[in-house]
């Protein structure tokens, strides 16, 4: 039977992050001018590092908290309420670590996973999208050519989160141009490897605190120790889909956090703003709008929790995860729009928190499998 009870440990974790969000994360983000690309500021990552939350999936034996997906979903919602971009940084680390946790060799686990833990946790990237496309694996151009002792990798990845600072990059590349999907292989690339360059930093209207950049792989030689499932040449696609299907539930959790933040701002504002001699919350049009927002957020949250629970049970989570992201991202967009309507002109101030939330909500239908791709996945399994 499905159990969505939040236990004491989880409650404590939520309280800790909520306090950190109110006292440190949100004030930092509001004070900081993200309008121009500048050096990455590690302050918020360090704060999470003190709680060992930079990559909360890392198993205990490698120095992490080894949290289940339900708990991580709760954490991501909480962080997203204050900073969706900080949540995206954590999610990227989770994405990076997932294939290694699922299919990495002992050497890969022992040498890499501990680096994502503790106060000095590094950042990492999961590189999939390319200029030629992200949703369609066949449009991928990054390729790896087999040599006697490993592979030579060439290509470019675009819009890669954490790239400017990532110590490791995990990517998938095809090894046979005629059978791209079945020949996909996963590679772990240390940042210092010869031939790797960080290209232009993408100046985005979303995820202000996080940084995205292009990564160029120029004749990179990868030894067998950094190939995922080195002896299983047909493993990549099935590892990639598992990683994506697990990871996208965290995008759903971010969507819930963004929607909740927008709702809370609109709710507070509606209790202060007086129009026609009463608080606007007491106008039926506004109160109904708030009710609709709260109801939708609850729907999105429950779908997200259910998908997380299924992942933790090892049950069939593909559809649940895709539906949660599909639904929660649409709801975040609806709620930020409705909340903006209640705030009026205040929501339109460039760089205001509501402005940032609205932008971040727009991004949700594109990342982690576009919503149309998710519809295709769900349709194929109905």
């Amino acid at each position: 039977m499905m159990d969505l009870t939040i236990n004491n440990y989880q409650k404590q974790l939520i309280e800790t992050i909520r306090k950190l969000s109110e006292q440190e994360i949100k004030p930092f983000c509001l004070k900081k001018d993200f309008s121009k690309t500048q050096a990455f500021d590690w302050h918020l990552v360090k704060l999470l590092g003190e709680l060992n939350l930079v990559c909360p999936t890392i198993p205990v034996e490698y120095g992490g908290l080894g949290l289940d997906m339900f708990t991580i979903g709760l954490i991501i919602e909480e962080i997203s309420v204050a900073s969706p971009s900080l949540a995206a940084i954590v999610e990227t680390n989770v994405h990076f670590a997932q294939p290694i946790i699922l299919a990495g060799s002992n050497y890969q686990k022992e040498t890499i996973l501990p680096k994502l833990t503790g106060t000095d946790a590094c950042l990492s990237s999961f590189a999939l999208t390319e200029v030629t496309g992200g949703s369609d694996v066949k449009s991928m151009m990054t390729c790896a050519r087999k040599i006697s002792n490993g592979f030579i990798l060439n290509g470019r990845k675009e819009y890669i989160l954490n790239a400017p600072e990532a110590e490791y990059i995990l990517l998938f590349a095809f090894t046979d141009p005629l059978h791209k999907k079945s020949s996909l292989r996963g590679f772990i690339i240390p940042r210092t490897i010869s031939g790797l360059r960080i290209g232009h930093i993408n100046e985005m209207a979303v995820l202000d605190y996080a940084q995205m950049a292009e990564i160029i792989f120029d004749h990179i030689e990868i030894g067998p120790d950094m190939i995922l499932k080195e002896t299983e040449p047909y493993s990549g696609y099935f590892l990639l889909t598992q990683t994506m299907d697990i990871g996208r539930v965290l995008t759903a959790a971010t969507a819930v956090g963004i929607a909740r933040a927008a709702y809370e701002i609109a709710f507070d504002f509606s209790n202060q703003r007086i129009q026609f001699d009463r608080k606007i919350r007491n106008h039926q049009a506004v109160s109904h709008s708030l009710v609709d927002m709260a109801t939708k957020i609850e729907m999105a949250r429950l779908m997200t929790w259910k998908a997380c629970w299924l992942i933790d049970q090892g049950d069939d989570y593909t559809i649940a995860s895709a539906m949660a992201k599909l639904s929660a991202s649409a709801i975040a967009q609806e709620v930020t729009a409705a909340a903006s309507n209640i705030l009026g002109a205040k929501a339109l101030i460039k760089g205001s928190f509501m402005d940032r939330l609205t932008n971040d909500a727009r991004m949700l239908s594109t990342i982690e499998g576009t919503n149309n791709i998710l519809r295709n996945i769900i349709a194929s399994l109905l």
């Binding site: 299919a103 390729c143 141009p177 059978h179 047909y234 590892l239 069939d316 194929s380 399994l381």
Partner: protein, 117 residues
């Protein structure tokens, strides 16, 4: 090959091994209805399960997944030499912009020639 065909391969391998759905489901640690969905292509299959199936059904992983593509992905390229195409793609990364434009022009010329028969 798509999820449904992958499911058929699982079913064939199971029957060759003379296992019932229930027996195989128990061996890989899932319910019979879940296995039935895998065999019908109604449930996405992930690497960890494929590895278990490979071991229990005595089939190499590539028996299940070689040439796996989603529906409508079949390309009319079966006669091409994969290594040659991969070498061409790899070499393109070593060229500068002007040289890449020359390659593109040459390909367009070949396509034009092909169109004229």
């Amino acid at each position: 090959m798509n999820l449904r065909e992958l499911g058929e391969r699982i079913q064939t391998a199971r029957e060759e091994k003379k296992l019932s759905q229930e027996q195989l489901a128990n061996a890989i640690g899932c319910s019979q209805s879940a296995l039935s969905n895998y065999e019908k292509g109604k449930r996405r299959i992930y690497l960890s399960l494929l590895e278990k199936l490979s071991e229990i059904l005595d089939k190499p992983l590539n028996y299940f997944v070689e040439n796996f593509e989603e529906a409508n992905d079949d390309l009319p390229l079966a006669n091409l030499d994969s290594n040659l195409v991969l070498r061409i793609i790899n070499n393109i990364y070593s060229l500068d912009q002007e040289q890449i434009k020359e390659v593109d022009l040459y390909i367009q010329y070949l396509l034009w020639k092909k169109d004229r028969g």
